[in-house]
Amino acid sequence: MKKIINDPATVVADALRGMALAHADLLDVQYDPAVVVRADAPVPRKVAVVSGGGSGHEPLHGGFVGRGMLDAACPGAVFTSPTPDQVQAALARTDGGAGAVLIVKNYTGDVLNFETGAELAAVDGVDVRTVVVDDDVAVRDSLFTAGRRGVGGTVLVEKVVGAAAERGVGLDGCEALARKVIGQVRSMGLALSPCTVPHAGQPSFALGDDEMELGVGIHGEPGRRRVPLAPADSLVPALLDPILADLPFAEGDRVLLFTNGMGGTPLMELYLAHGIAERLLAERGITVERRLVGPYVTSLEMQGMSLTLLKLDDELVELWDAPVRTAALRWGV
């Protein structure tokens, strides 16, 4: 295992210390329990937007804390959901009296821990609305399973709801918006190489030189199918087609296309894949109105990518374009 760390047991706290120094103008970091908070929290009368999850997906979620996006993020151990006391503390620190939207990725651990944290915060008197993002079309959904995973779409939910809250939209409105975005966002990913969790010390799975994992998750979980490596012209439709078929997206739709890197894939390859995806969407009469390209929801150093498609309307475009000032996304301010 080759990592720039001291001790796997302290890696999250050690990284948070550096992050706090790097972004002292934006963030306030507390350590026990660990929470990354917007520097000017709580913002009076604003709905607090709070998220979190296992670490190792940076910049998700701490990189999205700041004006126009998240009020707080709860970083768990690497690939491990945070604990309820972190969630409770985040909600307490950001409560401006207007309630909170808690954005949770759909993993059993995250759902259970955030649920408990929200219960504790409710006892503290915070009106908490929990929304669960489950945009990964690679996972077959059913009442009898854990359901779809939350992946790249989470960033878009956080941006849109964060923008609405910043404009003064109330708790019901923010919750409804979150559900709307979740309803019309879909994603799928692939991995060319695995990643190594610091405390595990070994790669999460083994891939042959000419293999890739299609439908991989963001925790180094093996994907749904192992398939032969292929040129980008084949990889991109292998992600895009299931996404398009799922919602489904149709001719005439306006979309945001988010081409995400898993961490170890160079920007050059992401741009290349993005270009192919845009061409394929144009061929189907789907209009790409907004785009995001880069490593925003990562799996440590895993090589791979995901595509996320969000169906847009004027309201969502406006909220996407609204000013945002965080470590990882910033515009208009």
Binding site: G76, Y107, T108, T145, A146, G217, E221, P222
Partner: protein, 208 residues
């Protein structure tokens, strides 16, 4: 010879030792069909329990179990944190403020723990989770109460849990992270079922 608070604390220390010894095995099992953190998470959690117990052992078995519950909830994370945490919390509630636990109380605590895990996680037997180990353990523990002591109850539970854990190998998972794998989870032991059987074996060993 019932179980005092001190004995329960001892038992938890034994659990922590076993979890530490099997940390890498649990990480490996979870790497195969999950995300590779189960051993690390439990080890962090039980180490925290031990350091709390080193500071002070609460007065009753129930209070010790409750301390373990809250510590696990606030340090483990992942699916296992709230599930084991809820299990211990329900077990604590079940034993109330009794000063000592007899065989029936232990079996009752196990049953309450199972109910807590199921209430939280909604898994049923056959979903390839810790429930597959805990459910038969609870049945065996209840059956062993008549004429048995605490050690006998826990022995029976551990024995059944081990078989229950083994039974997860051929299954497709329907809950937790392994459910994303579909058929590819077949042939692998569920890490949570394995940790449940290790916990019960450690408790049984400590009761003897």
């Amino acid at each position: 010879m019932g179980c005092t608070a001190e004995r329960v604390a001892e038992a938890l220390r034994a659990v922590a030792r076993v979890v530490a010894e099997h940390r890498d095995e649990l990480v490996r099992l979870d790497r195969e069909i999950g995300d590779g953190d189960h051993g690390e998470n439990l080890n962090r959690g039980f180490a925290a329990v031990v350091s709390k117990l080193d500071a002070e052992v609460p007065a009753t078995p129930g209070a010790v179990l409750k301390l373990a519950a809250t510590t696990l909830i606030s340090t483990v994370g992942g699916a296992a944190g709230p599930l084991y945490g809820t299990g211990f919390l329900r077990a604590a509630a079940a034993v109330g403020d009794a000063g000592e636990l007899d065989a029936a109380a232990v079996a009752g605590a196990l049953r309450a723990a199972l109910e807590g895990v199921v209430a939280r996680g909604k898994a049923v037997v056959g979903d390839k989770t810790m429930v597959d180990a805990l459910t038969p353990a609870v049945g065996a523990a209840s059956a062993a109460v008549a004429g048995g002591d605490v050690a006998g109850v826990l022995d029976a539970a551990a024995e059944a849990a081990e078989r229950g854990a083994e039974s997860t190998v051929p299954l497709v998972a329907r809950k937790g992270r392994a459910s994303y794998l579909g058929e590819r989870a077949v042939g692998h032991l569920d890490p949570g079922a394995r940790s449940t059987s290790l916990l019960l074996r450690a408790l049984a060993g400590s009761a003897r």
